[in-house]
Symmetry: C2
Subunit: 337 residues, 2 copies
DNA sequence: CCCCCTTGACGAAACGTTTAGCTAAACGTT
DNA sequence: AACGTTTAGCTAAACGTTTCGTCAAGGGGG
C-alpha cells in the first residue's frame, strides 16, 4: 500500500501538502495540486482511514446495533439507515444483539473501541436496560430507535405506538367486531407495552372489555404466535378478530388459523403492526399498520449527524405517525357468529 | 477516553507492560498483571482499535459487500456471515452495492482504506466485472460468494446452480409436466446462466424443447417477474409449470397468477430457487430449492480466516449442494390440459 | 525604502498502540 | 568468583495521518 509519504516523494512535495490537497483544508496552488493528483493516480494511493481516524480521534464509521436482522422490519430499517448513512459519508459497522441485553452492552463497547463517530441502536431490552444503555454511551453520540422509552438520556426516534394500536383496533371496531383478541409482545419492552395500552384504551373507550383468555403474550417471533393463536382460536367465545403486535407474529397467527382449518377473513379477521414487503403477496393480502421506516431512518441519521457535529442540547424525541394499510385480512364478522 | 498511558501511570508500570498484559504476547508477573487489570477497571479503559490497527497494519474488521440486503436470501446470508464473523472475533463493515458494479468497485476501495482484514463480496455483475473485482482486491484477502464464476483469482463459495435447476426441473417432469416455462435471471450473471443451462439441459435430455415464448428474463426483482408471468400465462399453449430463478421473482410470478384469476397449483405449478422464511406461510405453501445458506457463510468465513492467516495457495472453489423442499405449489398437471 | 501582512509550502509533533531491542537482576554452572 | 543464560520489565521507535507553528517570498501601504 502506497502511503502519503510515497505520494509526496513522487510529487516532490511534503506530506503536509498532500494532506492539504486531499482535505482541501488549506490552500494549495493549482500546480502542486495537479502534481499531487497525478502521483496519487500513478500509485493508486488510498488514504489509510485508521491513521486518519487515530489522529483525528474519530472516524467516518457509525455503529448500528439491531436485535435481529432477519425480521423484515429491521431488515428494511437497516437498509434505509445504511443508505442514508452512505449518503452522509458514513460507513456502517453492523452489530447484532440477538435480543440479548448483555450482547448489546458488549456491542456498545465494541463500537466505542472502534472510534465510531456515533451509534444508532435499536434496544432489545426493557426500560431499565435502555436507561442503562444511555449511561454506557457517555461521550459517544448515540441515537436510540424503535424500542426506545422516553426519558433516555439520548436522542430517540420512535413510532407513535399507541396511535398504531389505535388505528388497528378502531379499524376492527368500525368493521363491527366486538370480540377482539390480541397477541401482544414481551411485556417489559416499551413497544409492546405501548401497543397493548393503545389496544385496551380504545376498547375501554367503547365500553368493551377484553377477557384474560383473549390476551396472549408472544416474544415477537413466529413460533410463539402460532401457539398463542391456537389457544385464542380454541377459546370461547372465539374472537372474531385478532390484533397482532408485530409482523413475525402475524405469520405465526396465520399458521395457527390454517392449522385450525379456519379461514381469514371469513372466520377471523387479522391485523398487525408492521407492514412488510410481501404482505400484498399473501392470500389473503394482509391488512397492517405501516411504520414510516425510511422516515425513522432519516430522523435517526439526522439526529446522529447533529450530535456528531457537536450539538449539545437536551435529548430530543422524534415521534412518527403510522399508517393503516387496508387489504383483505379484515372484514365484518359473520352475522351468525 | 482513558488511554494505555493512563492505565500504565495508575498501575505504576510502563505502557509496554500494559500492552503485554492485554495481548498475552509476553510474560508478565501475576502481581503486575493484577495491578494492570485493576487500573483498567478503575479507568474503564478500552483499547483504541484504530491505534492498534494502524500499528499492526490490519484490523479485526471484515468487509461484507452485498447487492441488496432486502432480498431474503441475502438477508439470511448476511445474518449467518455476521454471526460467524462475530464468533471468529471479526466485526462486519457493511456495504450495499445496490446492484451497481461501479458502487461495488467503490466499496472494495472503501474496505481497503479501512484496513479490513479481508472482505466477502457477493458480486452483482457479469463475468467480466467479477474478473475485474479479483484484480482490484490485490493484496486484500477476498472471498467471493454466490454469484462468483469460476476462474476468479480469489476463493469462491457458490451453490451448485446447475444441480439446483436440475432438481427443480426434474421434479416438475416427474410430476408429469411437459410444457414447462421459465423466468430466468439477467443473462450476464453467472448464477442466472447456470440455472438456465441446468434447466434446458434436463429438458433436452428428455427430448423436450422450450419454445422462445416460454423463456422470459427478469431482473431478480418482483416486478419483472410479474410481467414475465403475465406474458407466460397468456401464451399458447399455456405452460403447466413455471421454473422461477429466484425467490423475489417467485413472488412476482404468484402475483401474476392471482391477477389472471388462476390458481396454484391447480392451473399452474410453480417452483423457484431460494427457499425463504415464509415459503411455508403462503397459500399454497411454496415448493422451492433451498440453498445451504449457513454452510455458504461458514465456508466463506473459513476461507477468509485462512487467507487472513496468511495462506498462500491457488484460489479454491467451494461448491455446495442445494436441497429440494417439496410443498404445495407443484402437482401433476390437469389431465384435460 | 521599510515594515507588515498575506500566501503557499513545509517540518515536526502529536494521536494510542505494538514490538524490537535493551537493561538489570536473578540464577545456575564451572 | 566469574561467566553465561534466562527472565521481567522498560525505552523508544515506528505505523500513516493531521495540524500547528514556522518560514520565505511577494505585495501593498505608509
Amino acid at each position: 500500500m502506497a502511503t502519503m509519504k510515497d505520494v509526496a516523494k513522487l510529487a516532490g512535495v511534503s506530506v503536509a501538502t498532500v494532506s492539504s490537497t486531499l482535505s482541501g483544508r488549506s490552500f494549495v496552488s493549482d500546480e502542486l495540486k495537479q502534481r499531487v493528483e497525478a502521483a496519487i493516480r500513478e500509485l493508486g494511493y488510498a488514504p489509510n482511514a485508521m491513521a486518519s481516524g487515530l489522529k483525528r480521534g474519530t472516524s467516518s464509521l457509525i455503529g448500528l446495533i439491531v436485535p435481529d436482522i432477519t425480521n423484515p422490519f429491521f431488515t428494511e430499517l437497516v437498509h434505509c439507515i445504511q443508505r442514508r448513512a452512505a449518503e452522509a459519508g458514513f460507513v456502517v459497522l453492523l452489530g447484532v444483539s440477538d435480543d440479548q441485553v448483555a450482547r448489546e452492552v458488549e456491542l456498545i463497547a465494541l463500537m466505542r473501541s472502534h472510534q465510531v463517530a456515533g451509534t444508532i441502536v435499536i434496544p432489545c431490552g426493557g426500560e431499565q436496560d435502555c436507561m442503562n444503555l444511555s449511561r454506557l454511551a457517555a461521550g459517544m453520540p448515540l441515537v436510540a430507535a424503535d424500542n426506545a422509552p422516553p426519558g433516555m438520556a439520548v436522542d430517540t426516534v420512535v413510532l407513535d405506538n399507541r396511535m398504531a394500536a389505535t388505528l388497528a383496533t378502531s379499524h376492527l371496531l368500525s368493521l363491527g367486531h366486538r370480540i377482539i383478541a390480541t397477541i401482544a409482545g414481551p411485556p417489559h419492552r416499551f413497544v409492546s407495552h405501548e401497543r397493548f395500552v393503545g389496544f385496551t384504551t380504545v376498547l375501554e373507550g367503547k365500553g368493551l372489555s377484553v377477557g384474560a383468555d383473549h390476551v396472549k403474550r408472544g416474544d415477537f417471533h413466529v413460533a410463539s404466535a402460532r401457539e398463542a393463536g391456537l389457544a385464542l382460536l380454541q377459546s370461547a367465545p372465539r374472537p372474531t378478530a385478532i390484533f397482532v403486535a408485530n409482523n413475525q407474529m402475524l405469520i405465526g397467527t396465520m399458521q395457527a388459523v390454517a392449522e385450525m382449518r379456519l379461514s381469514v377473513p371469513r372466520d377471523v379477521s387479522i391485523i398487525a403492526i408492521d407492514d412488510f414487503p410481501w404482505a400484498a403477496a399473501f392470500t389473503p393480502t394482509l391488512t397492517t399498520v405501516r411504520q414510516p421506516i425510511d422516515a425513522l431512518a432519516e430522523a435517526a441519521i439526522e439526529r446522529l449527524k447533529l450530535r456528531v457535529g457537536g450539538l449539545q442540547e437536551d435529548p430530543c424525541r422524534v415521534v412518527l405517525a403510522p399508517e393503516l394499510v387496508i387489504r383483505q385480512s379484515c372484514r365484518a364478522p359473520l352475522e351468525d357468529a
